[in-house]
């Protein structure tokens, strides 16, 4: 071998080694695999990303077996009916779930390119930090949007590294009611983390400062305390400021009074669960509560009763006195029913002139007694619309939980059948499912 050959061979060796080193140290995982998932080649980063996914003691030899549990679509993507060559997936996110040590949930990104039927290249990267950053960015966007949208009031204050108030201005005085003299130097814990039962509010504050140092900011919603002892619901954001001249970190805290938004949420909840005309619960809430009631009663071998209520001759009220009088009649009946309802009872408007009543804990005797009270209350509460006074009555069907009627559906059907009998037998009366004789025999009012 002449020297020139030897040197070119050395060069080729050195180049091959440089190429290996390039692949050994690449921070992204790269692998080549066959159509059935068998790994043909891979770099160390790929193996490092995949190894934690394998059950202990399992040898990593098949890419599909290793990744399919967190990427179920992968097998379909690799089937023959997919493109013969080209990109099969690009940046497919594999959500591995929460990290055991409390760090950000782990997310991998997978790209697969098919070269031919039996050769695929895969690139795998850990994008957990990126995904977590995206989430924080979205949250901070939401925060800043919220900041400029109507808050009742806000306060801005400065904190030292121990969480003591170092800057206090009129906004803080306005919101919390403390003068600067008493606020400065005191821990902000007393303002933003009123001591929970058994909790240490100073520790909670320091933890927030630590989080804002790590992430840049910390955001939470909760109760805040004023100087006069009253509380308000507020959003609190803490952000770490760049180090000051002394080299110590300072924190900026903004507290917004969002009590109004909270009551808006309460209004929304009410709008979703109540009937706007009568203020009784709506159908959706009735079925939710009813299912819950039956389940609780069954679980505890307790009792429960359901009443179906129908306003008598309601069509006549509407036809003779108009819809406005009809509406007033419904409001009056609802009020009468609510007034006579025992503690824990729930009144719902099921539609038209029909109401439903849920009676937790009521057996057949109690249920019949309550129904009779309700009937009398309705009959004794006339509706008034302008000059017109309307005497109203209603018919009642009662059903209680029994081994034969152990679902809400069956209870409602039984109560409905009893109501039908009450109507047929002359109205303004209570009939009980399974009992022939009505509870009340009263001449129906016209």
């Amino acid at each position: 071998m002449n020297p020139a050959e030897a040197s070119s061979e050395d060069d080729a060796d050195a180049e091959y080694e440089a190429l290996l080193r390039f692949l050994y140290t690449c921070p992204h995982g790269m692998a080549q695999f066959a159509a059935d998932g068998t790994v043909l080649m891979l770099n160390p980063a790929f193996s490092c990303l995949v190894m934690p996914l394998l059950p202990p003691g399992t040898m990593f030899s098949n890419l599909l077996d290793a990744l399919a549990p967190c990427a179920p679509e992968l097998r379909r993507l690799l089937r023959d009916d997919q493109p013969a060559r080209g990109t099969l997936c690009d940046g497919l996110r594999l959500h591995l779930g929460p990290a055991p040590d409390g760090r950000d949930p782990r997310v991998l990104s997978l790209t697969v390119v098919r070269m031919d039927a039996d050769r695929h290249m895969a690139v795998l990267s850990d994008i957990s930090a990126q995904v977590a950053n995206e989430r924080r960015l979205r949250e901070s966007d939401a925060w800043f949007a919220a900041l400029v949208q109507g808050a009742n009031d806000y306060a801005m204050l400065g904190l030292d590294p121990e969480g003591r108030v170092s800057e206090w201005n009129s906004s803080g005085e306005r919101l919390f009611g403390y003068a600067a003299a008493s606020a400065l130097g005191a821990s902000a814990a007393g303002l933003v983390t009123p001591a929970e039962r058994g909790g240490n509010s100073q520790d909670a504050l320091l933890e927030r400062l630590a989080v804002s140092l790590r992430d840049g900011w910390h955001l939470d919603d909760g109760w805040r305390a004023r100087a006069d002892g009253s509380r308000f619901w507020g959003t609190c954001i803490v952000s770490a400021l760049p180090e000051g001249e002394g080299g110590s970190t300072r924190f900026l805290m903004v507290v917004r009074d969002t009590t109004e938004r909270r009551s808006t949420a309460e209004e929304l909840r009410r709008a979703l669960t109540t009937d706007h005309l009568t203020g009784a619960l709506n159908r959706r809430a009735f079925f939710e509560q009813g299912i819950d009631l039956v389940r609780r009663a069954r679980d505890s071998a307790g009792s429960a009763a359901v009443l179906m209520v129908d306003v008598d001759h309601f069509k006549r009220v509407n036809d003779c006195h108009g819809h406005a009088a009809g509406d007033e009649a419904l409001r009056t009946v609802a009020r009468a029913l609510r007034d006579a309802l025992p503690e824990g009872g729930l009144l719902c408007r099921l539609g038209g002139e029909e109401f439903g009543v849920l009676l937790p804990g009521a057996d057949i005797e109690t249920g019949a007694k309550v129904a009779e009270q309700l009937r009398r209350q309705v009959a004794g509460t006339p509706a008034q619309k302008g000059e017109t006074v309307l005497v109203l009555t209603a018919s009642f069907g009662l059903a209680t939980l029994t081994p034969d009627a152990s679902t809400l559906e069956k209870l409602l059907a039984d109560a409905d059948a009893a109501l039908y009998r009450a109507k047929r037998d002359g109205r303004n009366r209570v009939c009980v499912a399974g009992a022939e004789a009505p509870v009340t025999r009263v001449r129906a009012a016209s």
């Binding site: 050195a14 091959y16 080694e17 290996l20 080193r21 692949l23 050994y24 140290t25 921070p27 790994v39 080649m41 891979l42 770099n43 160390p44 980063a45 790929f46 193996s47 490092c48 190894m51 003691g57 040898m59 990593f60 030899s61």
Partner: protein
Amino acid sequence: MKFDDAALLEALDAAPAGMLDTLPFGVIGLDGSGMVEVYNVYEATAARLTRDRVLGRHFFLDVAPCMNNSMVAERLEREEALDSMLPYVLTFRMRVTPVRLRLLRAPGHRRRYVLVERS
């Protein structure tokens, strides 16, 4: 000298030059900051890397980042007295290669070792 000999750390430290190259398993010796001081022929052949190009480099950052994790690098850094064997997968020349690793570190010994045996 065998892969699972007891008191292997002392034997490796005392081994004359050239002796480590006759061993049938990989020997990587690191100084306290993780720089490669020992890289025997077996290991160089398996990884297909030249010893001279590996010596003096940071092992976990520059040579074998696949071991820069809680199972290997962090344990060697954290535990002052360590003699532990674990199954592992390396990717010598981009092929899946199941191995057994043995991690050695002891107080009073400046050098730490990662030993690699193909299983």
